[in-house]
Symmetry: D3
Subunit: 287 residues, 6 copies
């Protein structure tokens, strides 16, 4: 049969991304929709924003699977006086359900950082940067190896090629010529893992949304004892590779049960940034 | 007389940047040094990091005036087992005092965001974006006007030229062709002012260290009702313009009292980022 | 014109029931609906429950004004997996907005307890039992007078006649023969006002949802010094009289602006209790 | 020997109702009295209020065993300026000790809800509604079976007959004709167990002190999926059956040690409510 | 008339020592006793301990006025299984009321530290060490002057003579030969005022219950800039002088209303310490 | 080799006094100094105060091992405007490191209270007064035996002789003639162990820094049932005996590794008290 009830699809998603593994502050699972409605088309996207809802409506999606929660903190109103309320109204009006897999997808095996690791060229077995207690396969971030040692400059170019293009380049901290091979990555904002990455003595830590103080303190600490280099990528770009992986796995799992859903990965860049500007000294590529 | 006691210099700095105006969580004032020591050379810098201490030692500085605290949270140890402890040891060994003016310099009149506003081309009277209660001249951020209306694209280029060069370009969110004139700026991480900037109905808000979620939520909210465009610059670059202003004012104030100190503004880029990398689609300048 | 935008109607409701006067823990205002939609029919009800939504759908209401919040604590999901989520889905699907006036209606002048006071026979000027600071007309509860002194027994019968019938009688604590005239009332659960009522030295305090311990401690304390008698009524019944008052006032206010909306007061008893049972008499159907 | 020291009697009571099982917020054990005094007469009562102290003084009791604490929250004064202070003064003046077994009696096996279950006609083995961790015999509430399936209406009448008469009837929520057999009961205020009762999929949950919002939310949730009916009884009435059970067990246990104490169960109704009133019928005296 | 009701006596005591001025954590006022009982004899004591109750019973006191609370933190039991419960039982059995004036007596004018100041030889107008906000006559501690400048050694001897004898000498920190005149005193444990005393630039701060760390940090801070010397006396000894003052004032105030009560100041030393021991001299009995 | 790196010495100290055993609120370990510097002379002292730094400078110490933290709560400034900042500056200027072993030394085996127990004459195996969970050799305080039963008076004299002289005698609570043998001791402020000592049914509890209320409540509680006597000694004196033990152990441990450091125990009395005064006898200089 083409399509399945929403209840069946969410059960499958929760078997892939166990909600019990989400952080206590997180808000995952079904945000709107009726468990009895039929789902034929599933759109995967990083952010449940207006442009993604547009795409879902146009394509005729029955369900959006998003990485980021619509409401991370609780709300007592979904009135269409805010952009989030407008999202809720449009989704319900168009019979489109919304499901979130966030920190439970981050720690899953395979999860968000596995897809990121593969995208930037890591090979071989990946292990969590910060494993769940008593679990050496699941956890936040991943550590893996490059096929061969190479200069930091070269790995940064490799990573830039592997990630989907966004406004603004990757930013790199550390000596461009240093040779690197063992790489830690964390999809999304990985600043909470900076200390872990430092202690793990990897060659590079690649993540997103790094601010001045954490990055500066990390590099000052790293300077004493040959600590890791740091690469900061666009938040959206580090999580997008996971969408195709999740879509593929959902299709397969439903397929083994005789159910077909059509999936699609949104390629709307939902980072806020749409352009860049630079001064007279110009933008220097990695030297 | 050439030089003055540290006590006299810090008193002058505190008359310029009243410590009572610092945020409750902040840590401003004298970090090390003896109030009785003589100060002849004062180095101004954004970050009290190793490279800045190197510069101070080489130049023979007696005092570093830094914008960022060395210890924002309290420590019970300054042992040279951490980079911060090493900074303390080197400073004390070399008779170099360290003084911080942080959020008290942010809200001062003139303060950090005034210097930033002037650097990116704003003219005319500046007013606080978030005034202190009952005070229309001091507060966080500044709002000012461009000499004439211009496309967002043009203002972004102007800002990029006015700020000191760093690795990575300014990032811009919003329609490059929209015409802008009223601009809000905030030196350093201004995400706490996003809501204020939205409510102030300015044309652009320029600040630093914006992460995916706050920027995305701001632009989604702005989309409904023609809200501000957003520009994200390097944290260091947005605060650096203030250093010269502060150095100049200190020299003047001490001069009127018959005291001379030599000042210098560090031009070390102390943002962590030293290079950028981009994929095949390449870096698109602002269109 | 028949009908008005939701924005106009909610602005009028908020001028009657100022949201700034709601308790800090409360959740009032628009819960769902689009400010631009047209409102022609407004249903007033105590509880935003399934039976009330049924009535709204059948009657073709565009707006429900409810006393109780749908979500008092914030939610991150409105999925139709809970009864509250089903309410949201049905409302949005049927273009019915939901607006809550809760503790702001309790303290308003006139508000919930004024309507209750009139319903149980109080006359003359009413004053708040617990006035807002510096405000002698608004606040929680009301104190008023009976037309003449009468035995507690007689006032209880009067109150029972004045309130809409529900399953279960009023419960009375105190000597049935004591003479009473000054009465305090509080619509809804008034246990937080027991101490205030005791100190106010009224003859009777009538409210709802009193539990064993507060009622027992109140009567033990009252026993020493001729304190008030106590009457416990059904929660729904004490708040229902306000609905007609609010509906009438909304119609009038919109009318003075040339707008007509049709209003209706739901008479569904939305207390959970549907029957009673007692030793001798057996199970009585709802009267 | 007739009588025993208070220390011996309280030790026996604590072996029946282990104080370690009381909730952390509770206040159980000896409230006043000297462990060395001799106890010959023990009065069992739900509430340590003035009327019960009167009865104890008249009968010549040496000890009151009460279910409810006199001071649930700590006090720094027992002056006879409050009704609780007057209780303390009268007890100490009359050499009457006071002992409380509250939540430790609720969870005991057998405890308060066992006696309630037997009173309303449940038979067969009873199991806790919310067992203590790792303990399938002790915990809050009890689940049991009726001898046969019967309409809800009939069970409510059975319960009303089995409980001691108080002012006001039992209140029932749910379809009176639905057939029921598996019943959960909880002596006293059982609202904290509503979620547990819903999940336990019993046919009826009978408890006391239910307020509008918890009862309404329970019934709305139950409406989807044939959840339990609800019965609300008088708080005092649901705990009173336990008194005789406790008295009997104390006598037996002391008897096996060669000690005799005389026990008595107070039949003062210490609920605050003394009468009811309703639309048609008027004020009924306490039956 | 000889004697008065307890209500009249406590009203007078509360006019002298306003309970509204007690610290929020304190527990002052009537602890046991009936406001209607007649009071003829009032015993004043620092601590409501067993020896003081003995004295009250022997003398036939109707009321004990104590400085220290019996229960500073709330209790849910006054059973005679603790020494505090035994105090309550003995007091109620013997019709002796207990009244506490603690931090409200500390800040009163005159209060505990006035009596202490006079006892150690201060003269002239006394002013609070830490005035209540907006009040220059009431507050914690007192500052006064010696009749003439004298060596610290001499003032310490004067203070030792002026205070009632206890086990253990006064302890002195600072140069015995330094000349002193302006003295701060605080009855009871004054460590919370150490910073205030340092800032007040007095010559000596005399108080009780000083521990190693606060005293050491005070003297280290004082060493830089000629800060105060420190004297530590017995807690009981610093508060005892107040008892006679309070007794005298109560008698006078009641006398002006035509009422006579007999007062007595307990001279039991209720500090725990009963002897001292030192290297050369051995164990000295209490002087 | 004479001397070792600081890193080696602190590693040895941490093997003796495991920092993981320090209380969560404590601040132990290296406070200043560079792990690479060479240590030849180590001064052991209770308090890191100015007089101890003087001694370290004069003797040419490379390291001070102190029992008390310099900063127990975190600081954001070590400027020489406070006595603690002056300590930091003098230490760093003179290449003297500072290391703290505080509550980790209290609970160690052997630790602070072992040395105290031996100093006051206890023999035989010592056991913790409050053992760490699941550890019968480590914990706070120690319980031991006197060689024979003796009057309390005699033990107090023995203790006074065994401890280093300070201003002020030991203070004793309890009947001087009672016979004692089992003694609990706790170096430093032991008031948190009063309840434990009472429950342990020892004959005497000797500790420091006891204030009026804890001591008074302890003796009132002890009065009922022949509880322990109490001895209060100078804080410094109870911890000083540990210094020699720690110095000896460090030397031995380094010796087995072929390293020699010279150690010295400071005999500066760093209690604040320098003299005493009493009624008859006048001001006694420090013995």
């Amino acid at each position: 049969m083409a399509g399945s009830t929403l209840a069946v699809v969410t059960a499958e998603l929760e078997s892939m991304y166990d909600p019990a593994l989400a952080e206590s502050w997180d808000a995952v699972g079904l945000v709107c929709g009726d468990p009895a409605q039929v789902v034929r088309r599933v759109l995967f996207a990083v952010d449940p924003v207006a442009a993604v809802v547009d795409e879902a409506v146009e394509w005729g999606a029955d369900l959006i699977v998003a990485h980021h929660p619509l409401y991370l903190r609780g709300t007592t109103s979904v009135a269409a006086t805010t952009f989030k309320g407008r999202v809720v109204h449009r989704l319900i009006k168009n019979d489109i359900a919304l499901f979130t897999a966030h920190t439970n997808a981050d720690v899953a095996d395979p999860g968000v950082s596995d897809a990121l690791a593969w995208a930037v060229g890591l090979i071989g077995p990946l292990r969590p940067l910060q494993p769940l207690p008593g679990d050496n396969r699941r956890g936040l971030g991943r550590i893996g190896e490059l096929p061969e040692r190479m200069p930091l400059r070269e790995f940064a170019e490799l990573a830039a090629k592997g990630l989907p293009p966004t406004a603004g380049p990757l930013r790199v901290a550390g000596d461009p010529g240093r040779m690197v091979r063992t790489i830690a990555v964390c999809g999304g904002a990985g600043d909470s893992l900076l200390g872990t990455a430092l202690a793990a003595r990897v060659d590079v830590f690649l993540t997103a949304d790094l601010r001045h103080h954490p990055a500066s303190e990390f590099m000052e600490a790293a300077a004493n004892g040959d600590g890791p280099a740091l690469i900061d990528a666009a938040h959206w770009a580090t999580e997008w590779p996971w969408l195709a992986d999740a879509a593929h796995r959902l299709t397969s799992k439903l397929g083994t049960k005789g159910t077909t859903v059509e999936t699609r990965v949104s390629d709307k860049v939902t980072d806020a940034w749409t352009a860049v500007a630079q001064g007279p000294s110009g933008l220097d590529p990695l030297r």
